[in-house]
Amino acid sequence: MGHQVRIEVNGTVYDREVDPRTLLVHFLREELALTGTNVGCETSLCGSCTVLVDGKAVKSCTQLAVQADGASITTIEGLAKGGELHPLQGAFREEHGLQCGFCTPGMILTAVDLLDSNPSPSAEEIREGLKGNVCRCTGYHNIVKAVQRAAEEDPS
């Protein structure tokens, strides 16, 4: 049985009918073909599926699409504006903050929320802020450096 939802994603409003069982992450990946948001676990512990819902980082595997009715969502595909990378995207590249790249969208979006609420975090605050995101490749060293770099570059 479908439920009607209106969800804004990356600036575009979508009216869709969804099965209530549809998780937000599956709605994004399959209904909207935004496959940058990944699924790495099923217990809200890996952070790969993190998106911004009304500006706040949340795990899109732990939200039903029907619950996002009326929300405004930013996925990794919508982070760069007008062809210009977000400072965090650039910083991840400059600092080699990614290897296989699977955790990267979630990691970057979590960091966006982190820097929104704390524009100049210490390394320790960055590590605490990213504790909900698992990276199996980098040992986090360069991820933390990337967030530090973005914070320095964009003192907003």
Binding site: P20, L23, E42, S44, A57, G129
Partner: protein
Amino acid sequence: MVPANFEYFRAASVEEAVALLHRHSDAKLLAGGHSLLPIMKLRLAEPAALIDISKIHILRGITHHGDGIRVGALTTHGTIASSEVLQRECGLLSEAAARIGDPQVRNKGTLGGNIAHADPASDLPAVLLALGAKVQLAGPGGNRTVAAGDFFTDLLETEVREDEVLTAVDLPVLGDSDGTSYLKFEHPASGYAICGAAAVVKMDSGTCREARLAFNGVTATPHEAAAVGSALAGSDLSDQAIASAIDAHLKIEEPLGDIQASGEYRVELAKVYGRRALQQARDRAR
């Protein structure tokens, strides 16, 4: 990753939610979803109906009224952690909320959902006990209030009846001579508490008027060490007084154990964390 099928209802008011609960026997309330959806995805829970209360805005928010603070059930852990009012008037709840899960979980998970799920390893239950908080419930017959100490009845079980909605938690305002602390020994995988110790002490010119100590993670329901509190009332809360009160009076029966930490070890952690939490609470009170 795919929950079993369910009917979905969105409630616009508490009354509607109560009515829906009344009508559907195997229904669960859905707020932030952070306790319920993970177990539904693993098919450890298969409710026939979900009643989404997340749009009942009246259940969201923190209000300061006279000698108390009311926190709506839908208030997120993130909001609680960063609330200036709570940090000033009842900082223990903010401190514990800031230790829940991770930022994304705190952005979505709610106070009501957390305590209604009654996970023994969750961070808030012991804090509510130590604070002497009261839980507000709404049901078909009207509203009622349950003391936090009576709220948690067993592993994953609470005083909330099948047709009741948890609407808010009432907290006391703490004064300058009160000190609190929440210390957590974290599970390395889940981030839940293997042992969480919440302490509240009320001091009066160097003498402890009242002390409360409670634990998460150690037993099936949050454990208040009432005897430790009684022993400390009237003491100077010196390190020695705290240590001997814990040695003599901290008795924990039937501790939980798993592959990460045995029951015996959790009890030992409770002694150490209980002592440290009381010491920190005392230092903050002065």
